[in-house]
């Protein structure tokens, strides 16, 4: 089982790399370099705030875009091109295929984010002239971004098991937007009455909560992230991803592949 899972994971990663997905790193570096003249025009203190915001938001956004655009084809492309026929005619369980695909894309995103993080810290060294102890807190924000990726990959994979790539992309992007404004949905539920309140509350709990996974502004202002939030977000992201991936497996287990 482990061998099959790791083979599918590695192949998914290899496909993303050979499809030049990591080329986005070049864009990331260009973005940071292009922003440099802006930093120099901003007063000391604010330039770091700007760099942290641009850097971390880019790591998040690039990752989410890759999660959506690679994730939507993870299963549907294999069905459409019939490459799945030669996988499922081996002793591969369908859940292993889904889990391997999930881990492969997540691995791609983690490697991508790790390389971006290195670039980001190099930019901090160059433009700000050094690192402080509190800059370690930036890693907490990056860790939360990885948790976002966990959820996004699970969601795109779920859509990929039953929908076309275009609809999967629309659904995934819509959920990302709704999840980013998850707190507003909760506030709306709190202010509503009757059936609307129930519906809004249910939606707020079912939709992914990306808002609590975004602490970029907080760490940009050098505020610390509590251990409680780190644990809570980790448990939340893991459970949410497992639930969504399980749904993907349940759909895929029953699916006739035409």
């Amino acid at each position: 089982m482990t061998s099959r899972l790791s083979a599918i994971t590695w192949n998914t990663f290899r496909e993303a790399v050979r499809d030049r997905v990591l080329y986005n790193l070049v864009l990331f570096v260009l973005l940071l370099v292009a922003s440099a003249p802006l930093f120099s025009q901003i007063s000391i203190g604010l330039e770091k705030l700007m760099l942290v915001n641009v850097g971390l938001s880019s790591i998040s956004l690039f990752g989410v875009i890759i999660a959506i655009f690679v994730g939507i084809g993870l299963v549907s492309k294999e069905i459409e091109k019939k490459t799945l026929y030669t996988i499922l005619s081996r002793p591969v369980r369908r859940w292993e295929f889904i889990a391997g695909k999930y881990l492969g894309l997540l691995l791609t995103l983690v490697v991508n984010a790790a390389l971006m993080t290195v670039g980001f810290y190099v930019a901090l060294l160059i433009f700000i002239g050094g690192l402080k102890k509190t800059d370690a807190m930036l890693l907490a924000a990056i860790y939360f971004i990885l948790l976002q990726f966990m959820i996004m990959v699970a969601l795109t994979l779920l859509f990929s098991t039953f929908s076309t790539p275009i609809f999967s992309a629309i659904f995934a992007f819509a959920l990302f937007v709704i999840g980013t404004f998850g707190e507003d949905l909760k506030n709306f539920a709190a202010m509503s009455h009757g059936a609307t309140k129930w519906l809004a509350t249910a939606a707020a709990y079912v939709m992914p909560n990306f808002a609590s996974l975004n602490v970029i502004a907080q760490v940009a202002h050098e505020q610390s992230v509590s251990a409680h939030l780190i644990i809570f977000n980790t448990v939340y992201a893991v459970l949410y991803s497992i639930a969504v991936t399980t749904a993907a497996v349940l759909i895929f287990e029953r699916r006739n592949l035409k």
Partner: protein, 312 residues
């Protein structure tokens, strides 16, 4: 020992906007294939051949019925360790090289790491691809891809190999190569179940064939029986068109070219036809028994329904 046993396997698809209509793709198929046999699964396009193979491979699920492969339930993933499959017109991960693809499939099939590399090297040599190096599959010709397809189907040295239209879309050279590969599998005692609509391939390779049409099994026959069967009809060619009038009642389909006559006679009438021709001093050119071919069998089986539906 039975390698494949199919019992009442059926597949229906729900069609229409509300998915309320049922369209049968395979109707209660019963079929047995002996171990070591090369079995041809024949039928016109859309007959249900690929549906059967997809069912047996667990790619789609049956509406009813069951099957065993080497005595194990066909839906048990563990049986796939002993089974190889080549889909029709296969597409592979084109960003991989042939050795990378085979390594991936070998890992999925549970081939131990210690023997993988050696096995891949041997197999690439066997299918004539030992010099492809690390060229990505996207640069391969159709014939080369088909050979990669056969290599992936047997990378784990399976006992039963399923091939879906292995010769389709290939040029004569490619077809010849694939035919030789199948023959080599047959020589090594593998059970081969292959679907095709190219009858000459089936005739050359198969021990037995089944004909399927419109999702229904129409018949199963032994290929050698077609070759060695007693001819029911004989083709007679003679010189002397005048003699035709004497034997006209005993022959069918006469064709006259200048003074040469070609006609067929039922084997039971042959002696009388020859005797009458001699009496007329006609010069015999040839007497050839007409054996029933696989094509005749195939056409009989696929046209049965049409014949039955025509009122007499």
């Amino acid at each position: 020992m039975l390698a494949i046993e199919i019992k009442g396997l059926s597949k229906e698809y729900a069609v229409g906007f509300w998915k309320q209509q049922r369209r049968p793709a395979l109707k209660s198929l019963n079929l047995n294939v002996e171990a070591g046999e090369t079995f041809g699964f024949l039928g016109p396009n859309g007959a249900g051949k690929t549906t059967t193979l997809k069912l047996l491979m667990g790619i789609i699920f049956p509406t009813s019925g069951s099957a065993t492969i080497l005595g194990q339930d066909f839906l048990d993933p563990e049986i796939k360790r002993r089974v190889g499959f080549l889909p029709e017109q296969p597409y592979f991960y084109d960003y991989l090289s042939a050795p990378e693809l085979l390594d991936y499939y070998a890992r999925l099939s549970g081939v131990p790491a210690t023997v993988r590399k050696q096995r891949i090297g041997e197999l690439l040599g066997q299918v004539g691809l030992s010099d492809v190096g690390n060229k990505q599959l996207r640069k391969f010709s159709k014939g080369m891809l088909q050979r990669v397809g056969i290599a992936q189907a047997i990378i784990h040295d399976p006992e039963v190999v399923f091939l879906d239209e292995p010769m389709s879309g290939l040029d004569p050279v490619g077809r010849h190569e694939v035919r030789e590969l199948i023959q080599s599998l047959k020589d090594r005692g593998k059970t081969i179940f292959f679907s095709t609509h190219i009858l000459s391939d089936a005739e050359a390779l198969c021990d037995r064939v089944a004909v399927i049409h419109k999702g229904e099994l129409r018949g199963v026959g032994v290929v050698n029986d077609f070759r060695s069967s007693v001819a029911e009809k004989t083709e007679v060619i003679w010189l002397g068109a005048n003699a035709l009038g004497v034997v006209n009642d005993l022959v069918a389909d006469p064709h006259i070219t200048s003074d040469t006559v070609r006609a067929t006679a039922h084997s039971s009438d042959l002696d009388r036809v020859l005797e009458k021709l001699r009496q007329q001093h006609a010069q015999l050119i040839s007497v050839t028994p007409i054996h029933r071919t696989l094509e005749d069998y195939f056409l009989d089986k696929t046209r049965e329904e049409e014949k039955e539906s025509v009122p007499s």
